[in-house]
């Protein structure tokens, strides 16, 4: 049974069709990569999944439950973690505070539950959150920078903090938009290792967008190739690499 299924999703912005009938499904515990040239619609499909964009057509289901009517925050609360192409961290806050926000979201923030926070379960909550925070910091090896303001960190580290914050939400699916973009080789390798560890230790399903082909081929179980909003191919890294339409699209792009 798929954990995430996207069915016939189309999306347009003022007449410009950005996604056309995209369908795919992601199996529990797999690393599912989405690749494609710039402007192919990769970020858009992630935004449709997280609920930031409403598709003009089609639907998204999580654990066989239709999510089309759920807002982005409800989807996050259901277990969709997310990192962004241009890092969306709270730059003025410390690393720890950013991660705390992730752990925070394990709790409901409806109008009334948010107002009446100081309930009986308060202490237990704090303990639980602390545990998660420590675990995540430990896991991503960011102990030494926990007090630093995020804005002062190198780009690669910021990406790691963003991942930490997403992990603190204990997501069932982690959606990552270009996790290694702008990183050097060593940072890229670290990130690839973390992604594999997340999958293995927590059995978290990961959907990631990347331009780094080597990393994609190394770590992903399956790959979806998008071009101008259309699905070009979907399969294992090897299958996709050999696919004539993929080769054509990528060579074509290089010529242009």
């Amino acid at each position: 049974m798929s954990i995430l299924s996207i069915e016939d999703v189309s999306l347009s912005f003022g007449g410009l069709e950005v996604l056309s009938d995209v369908s795919f499904s992601v199996e529990p515990g797999e690393i599912f990569a989405i690749i494609g040239p710039n402007g192919a619609g990769k970020t858009s499909i992630l935004n449709v999944i997280s609920g930031f964009y409403r598709p003009t057509k089609g639907s998204v289901a999580f654990n066989n439950k239709n999510m089309d009517r759920l807002s982005a925050d409800k989807r996050a609360a259901l277990g969709l973690g997310r990192t962004f192409q241009n890092i969306a961290l709270y730059h003025g806050m410390s690393v720890l505070d950013n991660i705390k926000l992730g752990a925070h979201s394990l709790l409901n923030t409806g109008l009334f539950s948010a107002l009446f926070y100081w309930g009986a379960a308060h202490k237990e909550e704090i303990r639980l959150r602390k545990e998660i925070e420590e675990e995540v910091i430990d896991f991503l090896e960011i102990e030494s920078i926990r007090k630093k303001p995020v804005g002062s960190l190198a780009y690669g580290l910021q990406k790691r903090v963003e991942l930490a914050r997403a992990l603190a939400m204990r997501p069932k699916i982690l959606l990552m938009d270009e996790p290694v973009a702008g990183m050097n080789a060593e940072e890229t390798e670290d990130m690839a290792r973390f992604i594999l560890d997340i999958k293995e230790e927590h059995n978290t399903t990961i959907v990631l967008i990347e331009h780094d082909m080597k990393m994609i081929m190394d770590i992903s179980d399956r790959v979806l190739v998008l071009n101008f909003g259309h699905t070009l191919a979907c399969g294992t890294p090897l299958e996709v690499q050999k696919h004539p339409r993929v080769i054509e699209a990528y060579l074509g792009q290089k010529k242009g």
Binding site: F52, A77, M93, T109, L111, R165
Partner: protein, 294 residues
Amino acid sequence: MDIFLQLIVSGFLVGGIYALIALGFVLIYKATNIINFATGEFMMIGAYIFYSLSVYLKLSPFIGIPLVIVAAALLGALVERLILRHMLGQPNISIIMVTIGLSSILLGIAEIIWGSSFRSFPALFPRKAIIIGEIVLRSNLFYGFVTAMVVVVVFLLVFKYAKVGVAMRATANDQIAAFSMGINVKSMFTISWAFGAIAASLGGIIIGNIGGVQPTLGHIGLKIFPIVILGGLDSIMGAVIGGLLVGILENLAGGYLDPYFHGGVKDLAPFVVLIIILLIKPYGLFGTKEIERL
């Protein structure tokens, strides 16, 4: 020298009360990026509700004030739900016009309900003036200041430690990230309008207690506006420091210059300082200049 000290200290007290009303702007702006030009009218309505509860229903302030808090929260939340919620994504100028329109509506409603005549408040605080050395402070002003500061500190603590405050800060910083943290951004908007209205209406009670209430009480909102800009619009501490600064300045200008200019300098001074400071620091003294992109 005595006069100087007297002017400074009483200006400081007035400034603290301004700071609370300034919070009315800041709490809403912080989460929603909307400048609520009806803040002064929220204040005036709060003062009138309190007036009615204590004069007509003879309720003690200990019941009246909590009731005003509830009523203000409802008013703020309703305004957000019924009006501003539907303005999401509209140009800023339209949203500003809506809040200006709202201020006229509230003013009109107040005139219909309470009439346009001036009413003085029943005494809230002990009447005895506070005397510190050579300085004499009106008791209403002194206790009003203390009350205002207590409320400001409560809001500061809520923002720093309570879950709703943390979620509001997150919303203020980056709505996209807040959404993806599972924060219900829309209810944060509602809560921030409720908070803003509470701050303004408590400020209204304090101001009304000092100088009485009439429908035009809300015009003080215009005076508070430079404070908010000065403080940087989204900073609670900025509002406090801006409030104190303007309070002192206004008092000094009023005390020393008004006699020479047939009055008026007092009200002008805050705006002059505002313009000078904005020329030097365009984001206010404490505002953030970060621009968020999706």
